[in-house]
Symmetry: C2
Subunit: 139 residues, 2 copies
DNA sequence: CCAACTGTATCACTGCTATAATACAGTTGC
DNA sequence: GCAACTGTATTATAGCAGTGATACAGTTGG
């Protein structure tokens, strides 16, 4: 069963796209694999605190892209292979990296400084990712 | 008078936010300076091919942030100082770099590979920026 | 003075996102 | 068989973004 514990709703972008990206990133990371079961629309909507219709919209998009197979009245399983995963990876990397690089270039920032800023952002993200684990350590 | 020739509408995000970011990036790049005049709402909306109300929404936000001063019945001038510029730069860099880095980390991509991907994206952006100049060279 | 500009405000309308409440048909397990 | 789940579809409602049209008040330059 696919987990959504790391999901946090924040962006200004549509929720169904956030759900979509979360799943795709999980696929690229190898956390979500071929044949993995998606929680039911109702369960997932309760987990994420959003409307079932919003979850359904994300699922329909996934299905249209051939990444999810939904059996009416039954489960919903991920449908993945190496080629699809590679395509998603390229899609997401291009989207994320190129967007950031274009923004930095538009600000007149040079390549060397940009790389330094990105490396610094990496440290920040690393610190923020490991910080929450302190709670688990207390348990 | 502030130029908007490099502006291209593409994102899925609201247009008034795109206009806002375009101006802020110009400020950070030093292309837009203190006292610079913004084209009138009507002229700018015609330039960008959007509704005057959309431009007005971006301008009101700029004004609320103390970056623009609009004289009713007259011009609209940028109101900048070193401190504001530094704040904008930090705001945008954090927003852009951290967003990309978080996405890459969520995909399970390591630091070394991430930096390589970003450097590759830089080359791509560089090529796309210089390509349009071919048209100018023809003139 | 006055015409032409400026910023500002309002109204109606469309489209998309999201919520809410249902309803229906297929699958599963006891 | 039947209750409890599953995916799917429909309707209504609300808010925000964006467009289009219009109106009003202040500024500017000839």
């Amino acid at each position: 069963m696919i987990s959504f514990e790391g999901f946090v709703q924040e962006d200004g972008s549509p929720i169904y796209l956030q759900i979509l990206r979360y799943i795709k990133r999980g696929v690229v990371a190898g956390v979500i694999r071929d044949g993995d079961e998606l929680p039911s629309r109702r369960v997932l909507s309760a987990l994420l605190g959003v409307n079932p219709n919003t979850v359904q919209k994300a699922c329909r998009t996934l299905e249209e892209e051939g990444l999810l197979c939904s059996f009416a009245g039954s489960k919903s399983l991920m449908q993945l292979d190496e080629e699809k995963i590679r395509a998603i990876r390229t899609e997401l990397v291009t989207e994320d990296a190129l967007t950031a690089v274009r923004a930095l270039r538009q600000m007149g920032i040079g390549k060397a400084e940009a790389m330094a800023l990105l490396e610094q952002a990496w440290q920040t993200a690393e610190a923020q990712d490991s910080a929450p684990h302190a709670k688990e350590a207390e348990q």
